[in-house]
Assembly symmetry: D2
Homo-oligomer: 371 residues x 4
């Protein structure tokens, strides 16, 4: 098991979907930084279940309780622990499934690993529920990043084969705020309407659909990161694959770039207002694992929700015979939708860790951007 | 900087392209395992430069010298250090470029990070040259994996928009050996011929081309790995992004799966000869970060070689003015080609580390597969 | 900050003395192990404050609440989080001290590190209060160690210059239980009575006194550990210095051995009932960082409680002038007394981590010792 | 196995006593720092064998070869690898001992751990020979520390029961240089003469003797380090126990302080020339794991050399019967003597890692102290 990540800032996630609480410990935060709780709650609300017709009906207050590391709204420099109680658990939904692994779920792999002792209720420690404490940590990281002049934004880049437009080359932070304020976080609302219709369609058919999320960070200075195994891509990818259902991560032109010629994929260096920039950003702001000063651009692929109502083929572990399985319970038909703020959260945490490792100083209160 | 990866088996890479030597330290290998040097040399030869018309003319013997950790062909359990001397270095090729960052290279980012002190000769520590010691480590890991009954194979899955066929659902290890024995490692030789023609074409035009590599590991038992941040995907991705030019990593159906419905992307569980398998493998053998017992399947996207002969736009750092840049020197027109064994190497090292962490026992000599 | 330790089993401590709660996350526990809560409470009671005349009057229930990782008394394999609410906090006691660092305390160093933002109430994250969650973790580790046939015991080896006798060469686990059952955990009760008298004396004089704790682990098989930096001594020492007030750690004959000749300090190998043992144990069961199969023996030195009622010399940070300081509040006159189970706890956690790293299998239920 | 330590600066040691070479990789050094090779050689000469009558007759040039990370005398920011070839190996000396573990050595523990495959020639990876690359790393760290205004000194504090005087409260760096220049590194030469006589005596008697080393670092600013498990003491202890034969580590008044009262052991804060200092330093410059601005003071206990010529009792592993063992070969009668610079080396490496973690900026060239 390894439910933590980070080098200077270590973030540890604990909890199971249907246990008493889920939570997070962040060890390595600087001291004396104010955390705006309302802004944090607003960020968390973006992933909360039950807020629109396209996500699970499970309802939770999701108010984090801070057990340590905060005093009168300021970080103390000690490990910060926040917990969220699980209020709306229905273990019964899952009792019949113990013997029959759900296709696309970790049930079978976990049963083997833990020799039949895994807590699979609601996905246990594998559950999307664990992204709630991840968003507590990410919401805090976002607020601190703002004091370095760094902002992170994301949108639902595709659902099925329907694609949103991409972020522009040098996005304005207002654009991040605008898309974050939408119930359905896309840039092109017409594409968004088609995505919604598709999600509703697959839901009606007892099915689910995959999607991708694009995330961009602006303001990261050049020179952050490392070649080889501790670079920005390595550390972001290691953490992003911790989000349930993520099966692919790419930076800049990514897989599309691997079909191109160098003369088209290289980003020419240019001078812009006395600063060295590139006139395209196929590198996604990362060269040799190190930031180039251009926006960090990444995309993650999320598989379709494995829990579907349609009958599926499985096997009874005890009887060693085929069984047909129908999954009831509450499930998002498209996990990519609620993953949008989670991708932002993880990206923010990793970038903050990198900044702390490099010893980059905070901006003064006057020059800092607003959270 | 962080040029190491791994938890129980720590692999550290050192060296610069045009320094005295490159090398690797593997700390955490079990003791008493025989290493077949000829098999190791054969594996390393697969990435060596200058062995075919589609790769750089730089020639090197690439014979690793073992400084520690081996005694009479057996691992001692101590840190194993192997070095490869750099014999054919031509620093002069790079002297004129110090002031003018090459598009697509880490030059600019590294100059900022190291405040002008980076060793950029031949790419320095960013160079593909560093994949030679990675292949020493990977070649050793492959031999040890064989004693767990695990084999790793890879092929060039695409060059530009030309695609090879994919590995079958349950590949036979003979197929791995057959593709490894080819000068041009593809499954479909007709596709390979078109790839070669494309590489030759872009090379003649002073350009380069990207590609992808598919890698599969068979024999990994179910139950290896972890949910969240220490799972198979997290650790493989963290390491694979350490291979120069990698910009994307996906597992199983990956990005393609994110365009699909759950009813099509889920892998039904079936009984095959008394074993629980899945009848498809869109999960790439990994569910919740844990192995399912099916083959591990991953693909990496490699960008086109950034060093191209065509003139490119850059900026003089000292004069702060635009300059046109033409890169001479020896360069692979398609780095994906020589990356095939490197992807295998990194995959093998990470899987070995995971097995050691889980305490999986070695097979007895009789039951072990041949390396 | 780094409030965690361990490699396979990562233990993270959070909380401040006068915050909402203190707690621990243990990530890496095996699944399916039963935890006996009553035995755990009994272990924790050994360090609890207010249970005898020689320790602080602060009273706390110290009942851990398990938020995750346990289900129906069994470990689930997920991160286990336990918290203990802080019930009896009196921040007021510390308000006057903010400007005047207490001699022997971390106040000054922490104020510099956190630029005036440290939470110093009651010692904040430096407090002995943090040893409560450490004992939750240690109590759990002890129960699991018992299933490997390993038991850990400790006693108060000295207070001031009064020494208890040492554990015998091959202690019986009953001896551990007998000393653990005592209110004053010494082997020689006559020495214990002299220690109590000394503690009472220094307390009356508004002073405090240092002490040492000896800890022994029996049942650890030979061959566990590593040379150089990951050995038993390295890892135990790294963790033991995390207990507040610890200023020295030694193994086997330790500092005394450094005054001896080799002919006297070496432990001769002998055969005992067909097993290879040593006829003395000056090595403390550790040779080259690896267990020899003999008991692990260590001693830690704890400084006298820095909080004393006698007037002391300090400096006002704001006025930059000398001030005389008298510390009121509740304090143990001899922290070594309550440190006895804490040393056991830390030792147990580290040894469990080492066993998990080596992949040592659990004993079967029948052969396991009782917790 | 874990032959590395450090967080931002990772130092990995490899090699066996009688293998081809020993070496070190330092990953995380800043770029652009000049390394004075002559000063490094001079530092290494302090631990080299065969330079005085009180140490082993084994002779080695011990000139490190830098394979990477240095270019024209400047660090490049890439991993620095230095190797030292083993020139004077005599494996034959050890062949007869394979079956008969030497008392006080790791032979038996290592044979169990590595199931008979350990390379025990000359102590293998356990050998004091491994302290040569550690001194390369430490010599480099010392030179860089000097650019932070930090200097490290050490002396032989005791041999058997003969004690040197201690460093003064605020030692002058000239004192460090003076003691480092001596063949026999003590402060009180009269005590040194008695130590030499004792070493000669035990050597004549085929015996050995233990000793202690005191090490002090001056110039470390207040506020470096952490409470709990990542503090200065934790990290120094973890690394110092990696030096062969170290069995105890204490800071400040250490074990002696545990026999004292708080009123005597606490260090009063005072103002000295406008700076906050303490009028004694029983804390060894560390409070709550964090530096107080006073000198860091530590002592390590080294056991007597286990290799002695006197006959000792052991057991034949193959025949399972007692045997009498006499060890021939070349051995230091008092390993503490040559450990003096090694303790400095390890201390310097750990302090440098802590400074890099905190992001402390280098002094400008003008203000820096000389290496």
């Amino acid at each position: 098991m390894s439910s933590d990540f980070g080098k200077i800032l270590k973030t540890t996630i604990f909890g199971q979907s249907h246990g008493k609480a889920v939570g997070v410990v962040m060890d390595g935060l600087p001291a004396g930084l104010s955390i705006d709780r309302e802004a944090l709650y607003a960020f968390m609300a973006r992933r909360a279940p039950g807020r629109n017709p396209w996500s699970t009906a499970r309802r939770e207050t999701d108010r984090p309780v801070f057990l340590s590391g905060l005093r009168e709204g300021l970080t103390t420099g000690d490990p910060l622990c926040a917990i969220i109680e699980n209020q709306d658990t229905r273990s019964g939904d899952y009792d019949l499934l113990a013997d029959t692994p759900r296709p696309g779920h970790a049930d079978y792999a976990a049963q083997i690993k833990w020799k039949g002792q895994a807590d699979l209720r609601g996905g246990g420690h594998f559950s999307g529920r664990l992204t709630a404490p991840l968003c507590v940590a990410g919401g805090i990281a976002r607020q601190i990043l703002a004091r370095y002049g760094i902002e992170v934004g994301a949108h639902l880049a595709s659902v099925g084969e329907i694609e949103d437009e991409a972020f522009p080359l040098n996005p304005n932070p207002d654009l991040f705020r605008a898309v974050a304020a939408k119930t359905f976080p896309v840039l092109d609302d017409a594409a968004g309407d088609r995505m919604k219709a598709l999600i509703e369609l697959v839901a009606r058919e007892g099915d689910s659909i995959g999607g991708t999320v694009e995330c961009v960070a602006i303001g990261l200075p050049a020179g952050i990161g490392s070649p080889m195994f501790g670079g920005i891509e390595n550390r972001l990818a290691q953490a992003l694959f911790g989000i349930p259902a993520v099966k692919g991560v790419e930076f800049g032109s990514g897989f599309a770039g691997s079909a191109r010629r160098g003369s088209r994929n290289n980003d020419p260096f240019v001078l812009e207002a006395g600063e060295i920039r590139t006139s395209s950003n196929h590198a996604g702001g990362i060269l040799g694992g190190i930031s180039s000063g251009m926006p960090i651009v990444l995309r993650v692929a999320l598989k379709p929700t494995p829990s579907i109502a349609q009958p599926q083929q499985s096997v009874s572990l005890s009887r060693q015979e085929p069984v047909e399985l129908s999954i009831t319970g509450r499930h998002d038909p498209c996990v990519a939708l609620r993953a949008v703020p989670v991708v932002e959260a993880v990206t923010a945490i990793v970038l903050l860790d990198l900044l702390l490792e490099e010893g980059v100083p905070l901006l003064t209160a006057e020059s800092a951007v607003t959270p």
